[in-house]
């Protein structure tokens, strides 16, 4: 008997214009590792909420069809009996933690289940030790890092010994290292305990290959259901494929066999006749702009938190006018502190900062508002209006536009950012991609800012939304603005910037052309670079990799054809 059985299920949220799930038929067997893919708003979260009865019991709405989970009818049983058998981890750890300390949080579900005290004590110890949380057991939860908090949530769910573990984009709010750690943990749990795992995730390069099954949804319907290898073949070379970058480039280059990991891809290239070329030559590093002036400049910048660590230690950084610079580095490297000092939100302990020719400070920031735009990591902190249109109008008013002029500009911006359909919706109700697009649309309203500062612009975004944001930024860059971004997303940095600065321990470790900085690295290199760096060093963008792989394929096919002719 399947653990999950869904038949002809259609579901509408209250006041939903279209069904969130449409004619879904699905069976999941015990021990499977199912990866749900699809663009934001395709119904992944709704499907997962259905598995533990939150849909329709918590959210309301209208449901048609049948859903049985762990031999229980979801509609008639509801979330209470299902809570002990289906554990669910949501996106943002901040929205799940209930208690104040780690130990209490792990106990929360067990106490709710009414288990005897000795059993609770045993399971809490087991989880804290097993998940490496023992040293944090009395830590205050709001002070944990995102990765640690998400691990605590996972521990509190696993303590209930669920039959199905449901994870809804569990790494979307985490930095790459914490994300990697969490996904490795999930994989270990699946392998060692045989727990059925159903997960949705945007960082496909980290989990696609170890899923036993991939289900792709679009507009509430299941479009594909099969193994990861079948999924890669199904996507083929289509645009917007939900595949890891390495698989995507092989598919786009027209290869029949599509690898899922860098290692598989390297083996495939090694088996080529007559083998990969000795060298493709190194692409030239893009000419870095060396304009007369710098939009942002920091000289010997130090910042020491009161009674805290030295967050910045002698930073020298220059962002040329009209240049695109990305700052990368692990959590705690000092990226956010640097950004706050550059914007004048923190007063440096020592050193000099120049922002658009000004010495920045908080009081004078409104005077720079029409020349400077800042897109924060959490888009919700940007929104002060109750509609998308209102948000744009607010920015225009701050920039001195009123009346018909403002209306015309809003219409134009809504159109060019593809936000017409959501113009009357509350910004907080939009998807992550739409929120980021709205912040960008608002920031880039006329007069176009001279400097655009972005803090983790792709956090929680699916592949397609990322592409759209990149396209917007490229267009904006062509308009001649300077872009300064902080990101963990290596692929995004490779496609956006001409210069990259790597930070570590409060210092700039390396700063230079993107191609140089992002090559020859294990963790700060895009997947395509790790794949091709041995014989085509300096390849960092998918487009470049696709053309090389196309050439290799054609060469191999040509050789095969010539061989066949010789034989005949």
């Amino acid at each position: 008997m399947a653990l999950v059985e869904i038949e002809n299920l259609t579901y509408w949220y209250p006041r939903g214009e279209r069904p969130a799930l449409r004619d879904v038929n699905l069976k999941v067997e015990k021990g499977e590792f199912v990866l749900l893919t699809g663009p934001t708003g395709c119904g992944k979260t709704t499907l997962m909420r259905l598995l533990n009865g939150l849909v329709p019991h918590f959210h309301g709405g209208c449901l048609r069809g049948k859903a049985r989970v762990c031999d229980m009818d979801v509609v008639s049983s509801g979330p209470r009996p299902l809570s002990a058998r289906v554990g669910m981890v949501f996106q943002d750890p901040e929205d799940q933690l209930v208690s104040t300390t780690v130990e209490k949080e792990v106990r929360f579900g067990l106490e709710n289940a009414g288990l005897p005290s000795p059993v609770i004590a045993k399971r809490v110890e087991e989880m804290l030790a097993g998940m490496g949380l023992s040293r944090l057991r009395r830590s205050f939860l709001p002070e944990l890092s995102g990765g640690e908090a998400q691990k605590v949530i996972l521990a509190s769910i696993l303590a209930l010994h669920p039959e199905i573990l449901v994870l809804d984009e569990p790494t979307s709010q985490l930095d790459p290292l914490s994300a990697e750690e969490l996904l490795t943990l999930v994989r270990r749990i699946h392998e060692e305990t045989g727990t059925t795992v159903i997960m949705s995730e945007h960082r496909l390069e980290r989990c696609f290959h170890y899923a036993s099954r991939v289900i792709h949804l679009e507009r509430g319907s299941v479009l594909f259901d099969g193994t990861p290898e079948e999924a890669a073949r199904w996507w083929g070379g289509r645009e917007g494929a939900f595949l890891p970058p390495v698989a995507r480039v092989f598919a786009r280059a027209g290869w029949k066999e599509i690898p899922l990991t860098v290692n598989q891809a390297r083996l495939l290239l090694a088996a080529l006749e007559p083998g990969p070329p000795e060298s493709c030559g190194r692409p030239h590093a893009e000419e870095a702009l060396s304009g007369e002036g710098a939009s942002v400049e920091a000289r010997d910048l130090w910042y020491v938190y009161p009674a805290g660590p030295e967050a910045l230690r002698g930073i020298d950084l220059r962002v040329e006018d009209k240049g695109h610079l990305v700052i990368m580095g692990e959590n705690g490297a000092g990226k956010s502190t640097l950004l706050r000092c550059l914007l004048g939100l923190l007063l440096p302990t020592r050193g000099k900062v120049s922002l658009l020719g000004w010495k920045p400070n908080r009081e004078r920031l409104p005077e720079l508002a029409s020349r400077l735009a800042y897109c924060p990591q959490n888009p919700n902190t940007y929104f002060l209006s109750s509609t998308v249109r209102g948000e744009l109008l607010r920015t225009l008013r701050l920039r001195g536009y009123r009346g018909a002029d403002a209306e015309a500009l809003i219409e134009g911006q809504l159109r060019s950012f593809g936000l017409e359909g959501v113009s009357e919706r509350n910004p907080r109700d939009l998807s992550s991609g739409e929120k980021e697009k709205l912040v960008l649309a608002s920031s880039l309203l006329p007069p176009t800012p001279e400097l655009l500062v972005l803090d983790e612009p792709t956090r929680g975004m699916d592949y397609r939304s990322k592409e759209e944001v990149l396209e917007i930024l490229r267009m904006h860059g062509e308009g001649g603005s300077t872009v300064l971004a902080v990101t963990h997303d290596v692929e995004f940095a490779a496609n956006l910037a001409e210069r990259v600065a790597l930070m570590g321990d409060g210092r700039i470790i390396l700063e230079g052309p993107t191609r140089n900085v992002l090559s020859d690295s294990l963790f700060f290199a895009p997947q395509v670079n790790r794949l091709l760096n041995d014989f085509c060093p300096g390849i960092i963008r998918e487009g470049e990799a696709v053309s090389i792989l196309k050439t290799l394929r054609e060469r191999a096919e040509g050789r095969k054809e010539r061989g066949a002719e010789t034989c005949s």
Binding site: S83, R340, L368
Partner: protein, 304 residues
């Protein structure tokens, strides 16, 4: 750094929640019920000793600053509204309704003592907030009212998130060009209204998400298991001394106080209840000795 609870290796942090509540109650009773400034000074010294014992002197600094500000406010305002007392320091003008605004020595001292009292109350809550495990305290409260304790736990949990979100929003809006602090009171209120509304909306969204997460983890399924914590000898010692201090404070407040501020100040050293500060000082000294020994001697720690 937010002034919140952080686990530390001190006897105060290790107390049973009931003993911790009794300790807090005894401090509040002493501070609120005692009139004699000398006794109040002893209570203040006791509170300072507990802060030292809990190793939270840095964490309670914001509370101390707030307390000092409030104390200063009371010190300034009290002599202006209270004109009782025999020793006039400054003869003020005569105003309609209010009468003559004389500043007396007695009103000034009374204001200073009231301000000091207020500061100690704030500091006592600062000690409770930074050194007493909120989960453990709320476990005790949950036996009285489960829902209230859960609401309190969520409030404690979400307060730092709310403060951080407010800070982040303020920064983002400053770069965007919003002037949240300029202009007159009306302009400021108008500018800040959307900010507070957005913060409130964010809190509601978070509350809904947490409710969903709690439902997914079986909240409201029925009978909840309650954890019983061991009541150790150290808890008994602290509870006994806390109850003693509380009893002394209550007894000294019943009947006629031996200290008067008006019409003239009494001598704080001449009273019928000079044993009150002696008992309190003794209690606090024992607490400090027990706490220091607990920290220094593993054997003693294992015994109590």
């Amino acid at each position: 750094m937010l002034p919140v609870y952080r686990d530390k290796d001190t006897i105060i942090h290790a107390l049973h929640p009931l003993a911790a509540i009794l300790l807090l109650a005894s401090l509040l009773a002493a501070v609120l019920l005692l009139e004699n400034p000398l006794y109040l000074a002893v209570a203040g010294a006791g509170l300072a000793a507990l802060v030292f014992l809990a190793e939270v002197s840095r964490e309670v600094r914001p509370f101390l600053r707030l307390g000092l500000f409030l104390a200063f406010l009371v010190l300034i305002v009290n002599p202006l509204v209270n004109h009782r007392g025999d020793h006039v320091l400054v003869y003020g003008p005569r105003l309609p309704v209010l009468g003559r605004l004389d500043v007396t020595l007695e009103a000034l001292v009374y204001g200073a003592v009231s301000g000091f009292r207020l500061m100690l109350v704030v500091l006592a809550f600062g000690l409770a907030g930074t050194a007493l495990n909120p989960d453990h305290l709320l476990e005790v409260l949950s036996r009285i009212s489960f829902r209230s304790s859960l609401s309190a736990a969520l409030a404690v949990r979400l307060y730092p998130s709310l403060v951080l979100e407010a800070r982040e929003m303020r920064d983002v809006q400053a770069v965007r060009g919003e002037r949240l602090h300029g202009g007159g009171r009306w302009e400021r209120a108008r500018a800040q209204f959307p900010f507070w509304l957005a913060l409130f909306q964010g809190s509601l969204d978070r509350a809904a998400n947490i409710a969903e997460s709690m439902t997914a983890r079986g909240f409201g399924n029925g009978k909840v298991t309650r954890i019983r914590r061991a009541f150790r000898p150290r808890d008994a010692i602290f509870s006994f001394l806390a109850l003693g201090t509380m009893a002394v404070a209550v007894i000294s407040s019943i009947g006629k106080s031996d200290y008067r501020y008006f019409p003239a100040l009494s001598n704080p050293l001449r009273g019928t209840m000079i044993w009150v500060p002696a008992v309190m000082a003794g209690s606090f000294s024992i607490l400090v000795i027990v706490g220091r020994c607990w920290k220094r001697w593993p054997w003693w720690r294992s015994r109590i």
